[in-house]
Subunit: 568 residues, 2 copies
């Protein structure tokens, strides 16, 4: 690949038009579709891709990160440290929040002047090159988030790219909802028609700010990044200080493509910082920042929504992911599926179930009625089966991302009757990694509401005894409506209960998974088919992705003139 | 028409489906299209429509307004008084803000359970019946706003209905963007596909609050009312205390159709009040109010945007409508067109030009170069020509809506050199009506910025002397970006100036009209073709209508289950 060779901006659109059209069709059909293969296999990505990706990652460690032409003075060392042990030691350009916004703003006019097709083509090219860099990005994600390698590859690479492309095509299509030009001819009672020629131009709102999280630096960022880019807005990328590298690679590739297409590469700017800098709040209230995408804590997300009034704000925060357990005809499948959902990446997903609601009279299963105590014990045993082998356990659990999660795990153990203790697992490859199995507590719906109506981010879940399935559904409805959730699930063999659960989920404003006992897990959502998050409950103010995620990022402005005047 | 005869809810959709489909196509084509004829003629509306409409209006005066089954205790008399003289004396159901929201909320489940087609069909039927009531509504609009009858008919009737239908079809189409159901089949390397059946349901956000204005009670209200209804939200209609009747008629018709279709009529509730009640602020922060549409003052609009954080807020406020005058090949046409724009409804439109920017060196015209002084004099003369005949003047000017406008007119006269004084016109039909011609002042771009960067709502405009057309365009850019505008216009025979004006308007975020010298006026916007307002500048946070106007009013929620489970 020859860098910085000038390419006609239209050529990326011409090259990727079939991809964009397929992707757009997929958003309307919502079956299974993905352009970016999830298998980290040499048969897909090429014989040398794995070692080239790893080498690219290793070569960056302990050095200033190369971003040719990037603004800033000197470097900043955020202090990224792998949850698997070593410090990454990568330094990035240092620039003030004001300088980051100014650079992005200065790059805006040329980007705005390009049309939606050109911008969608550039975005698709960025995604295709990100896909080719999936191994490099996977290592960067693994060693900033603690995800196991395969998950870091899939979630940080192709799945993130899918979510990015999904946002690209929503943004592309919405800008093409209206024609570029139209002639308006109004018949008059006397004389000829009144005639006007009209022009319609989608215009981005202004500088877009992306405030990324530690645990999914690319997956949660690509939708906002690409939605803003394609709608004509430059983007300031503000990574979490502990997970800069995956986004630095992303920014590098985006800037390469932008420059090749003849645009100012500052259409995408990296605003790296240390944890002490706290630049996100300063960036968020900059009057030129007109769009904000944020993934992270409820406290900062709520602050953004209340404070950054000059911007449209898309947040994904936290909530109480809830499972209502009524009955099943596949108890073993249920336990295995749920044990995996609790264990995947040590429960450090915004989608991990926290509150497992079981009626006191027990759930009816193909292995008899299971009381909450029995269910908790059986789920604990399923966790032990899943995580008994350290190598396999490490591949599922990954590593604890930071000390806050570890501390929370220790605090939580005192809150109720422990049904499954969190135990340390020795990582066969990284002896310094902190690996812990999930903690499972038993709580009571009546007495313990203060505990289970808070989010306990990490491998912490509660088997909550309810009076009845009806009470469980009512708890789903009320707790999610008040505190939010990214996921909800139900297990029942009774269609009436499933229908009631669907009603409760609609009331609560949360997506619902039913009777997952096989190879699909509640914490997974597939781009182009599953919606992720919902503005209908407090855990988020956006859905990945739908038209609402993109329409606020631009306005369609019109000009009109009499037809006569153009003949003059 | 038999009231309250039960009709299958689908039948309205079946009846109006061709209308909805045509309307939807029109939003994409943006040529001239209207289903509701603007001529208040018996050949269109039927021989008896005028007198029946007037009688319906007259029969309501001095009585409690009939809204069968409406919640509330007793009545409230807002004290509506016609700007043409008489008090209307109509009383409306009295209910507290909390009671209004509670009634609407209780009506929500059945309305949510109907699908988008059914809701769009009900909305279309409401609009068709509103159209049939256009004469009644015209009288109600005339005698609450002071608009002349023909304008009250057109803007308050068919044009408002057009804007309502436009919102209906955007809301309808956006909910149909995704399928109701989909099957997801993911190939596995081993074994059969993973298969899920998915269901997608658009769900409204919650109770919608409509806070209407005095001057265009229906035109500015129907888009938000219908957008919220069709996306599944019940609506609390809070009219301006001085202009309740047009919306009471609207609510009556909406409730009739809802009841006929088997829905709780409280899906639309009227929250009438006196000016002293100030219920809008209390309604706006009710936690169950999740959507707000507001037209009115910048102060209250800004307060809503900053305070009603639980809701998505669509505002249309005020701004500095600006005309850049560079050159013309039809000076006489320009003057006539502009004089009419300043005079129509006494400049009491959110779209009336306020700041007319003329270079000190003058504008080049087919009648020679015109200095700002000459231009102001010529425009004053054009106003006198247009308004010389009292009957014709009254038909154009209407009446001053309230004392605040009259006071502002008097205050403004002291601010600069008067180029055209506002004079009283005797209304030939209503001797008590306060009718005034527009005030035209001369200001200087450098010295008088404090005056012309405020909005002077009413028949008050300024001929502002600039250094050059370039400075005029820069003023357009900067003042509109900072203070907002609903309209902008330019006159030039130079394509380079027009191109620069288009660039400036895109920067400012405002729609632009060019070289209007004939029968189209800057203050008019045609539904299905022209966008009205733009979230891209501070005068509004919404456009009438586009997808952004509707996508925030609902979320698409999904449920999914393994295919296997449905065979059990």
């Amino acid at each position: 690949m020859v860098l910085n060779a000038q390419t006609a901006p239209e050529s990326f659109y011409e090259r990727h038009r079939p991809l964009l059209e397929q992707a757009l069709a997929a958003t309307s059909e919502r079956g299974f579709w993905t352009p970016f293969r999830e298998s980290p296999s040499t048969s897909v990505y090429g014989e040398h891709a794995p070692e080239e990706g790893e080498r690219a990652f290793r070569e960056q460690l302990g050095k200033p990160f190369e971003l040719p032409g990037h603004p800033g003075e000197g470097t900043v060392l955020p202090g990224e440290t792998s949850p698997y042990g070593p410090a990454l030691g990568v330094a990035y350009p240092r620039l003030t929040p004001a300088a980051a916004v100014a650079a992005a703003k200065a790059a805006a006019p040329g980007w705005r002047a390009a049309d939606a097709d050109v911008r969608a083509g550039v975005a698709a090219e960025i995604l295709v090159r990100l896909n080719a860099a999936s191994f490099e990005i996977a290592h960067a994600v693994q060693h900033t988030t603690g995800q196991a390698f395969v998950m870091a590859f899939q979630a940080g690479g192709p799945h993130a790219q899918d979510r990015g492309l999904e946002a690209v095509v929503y943004a592309w299509a919405e800008q093409k909802r209206h024609p570029h030009t139209a002639r308006w001819s109004k018949p008059q009672r006397k004389g000829g028609d009144l005639e006007l020629d009209k022009r319609f131009t989608p215009v981005g709102r202004g500088v877009s700010l992306l405030v990324a999280c530690n645990t999914f630096p690319t997956w949660n960022s690509y939708p906002g990044l690409f939605a803003s880019l394609v709608t004509g807005n430059p983007v300031v990328v503000k990574p979490h200080p502990a997970a800069v590298l995956p986004l630095a690679v992303t920014v590098r590739i985006a800037r390469e493509v932008l420059a090749e297409a003849g645009f100012d590469p500052n259409v995408v700017v990296l605003a790296a910082e240390t944890a002490a800098d706290r630049g996100a709040a300063e960036l968020a209230v900059n009057p030129d920042v007109r769009i904000i995408d944020f993934t992270g804590s409820t406290a900062f997300g709520d602050w953004l929504e209340a404070t950054a009034g000059q911007a449209v704000v898309y947040t994904e925060k936290a909530g109480l992911n809830t499972v209502v357990l009524d009955s099943t005809d596949d108890y073993r499948g249920l336990l295995g599926n749920l044990a995996f959902s609790l264990s995947l990446y040590s429960g450090q997903m915004c989608t991990t179930p926290q509150n497992l609601l079981v009626p006191g009279s027990g759930m009816v299963t193909d292995q008899g009625v299971k009381t909450p105590a029995e269910f908790a014990e059986d789920l604990g045993a399923a966790l032990d089966r899943l995580l008994g082998d350290p190598a396999r356990a490490a591949g599922t659990l990954g590593a604890i991302v930071n000390d806050a999660v570890l501390q929370r795990l220790e605090d939580a153990a005192k809150l109720g009757e422990v049904a499954h203790a969190s135990t340390a697992v020795e990582h066969p490859e990284y002896p310094d990694a902190v690996v812990r199995t999930p903690l499972l507590l038993r709580l009571d719906a009546g007495k313990d509401s203060e505990v289970y109506t808070r989010e306990w981010f990490g491998p912490i879940s509660f088997v909550v005894t309810t009076d009845s399935t009806a009470q469980g559904l009512e708890l789903l409805r009320t707790t999610v409506r008040e505190h939010g959730a990214l996921t909800a699930a139900v297990h029942s063999t009774d269609e009436a209960v499933l229908a009631a659960a669907e009603e409760a989920a609609l009331d609560a404003g949360v997506h619902l998974s039913e009777n997952l006992t096989g190879g699909v897990f509640v914490n997974q959502s597939a781009a182009f088919s599953d919606f992720h998050g919902s503005a209908a409950n407090p855990a988020a103010s956006a859905t990945l992705s739908d038209p609402a995620f993109v329409t606020g990022r631009f306005a369609t402005l019109q000009s009109r003139r009499p037809v006569r005047a153009q003949q003059g």
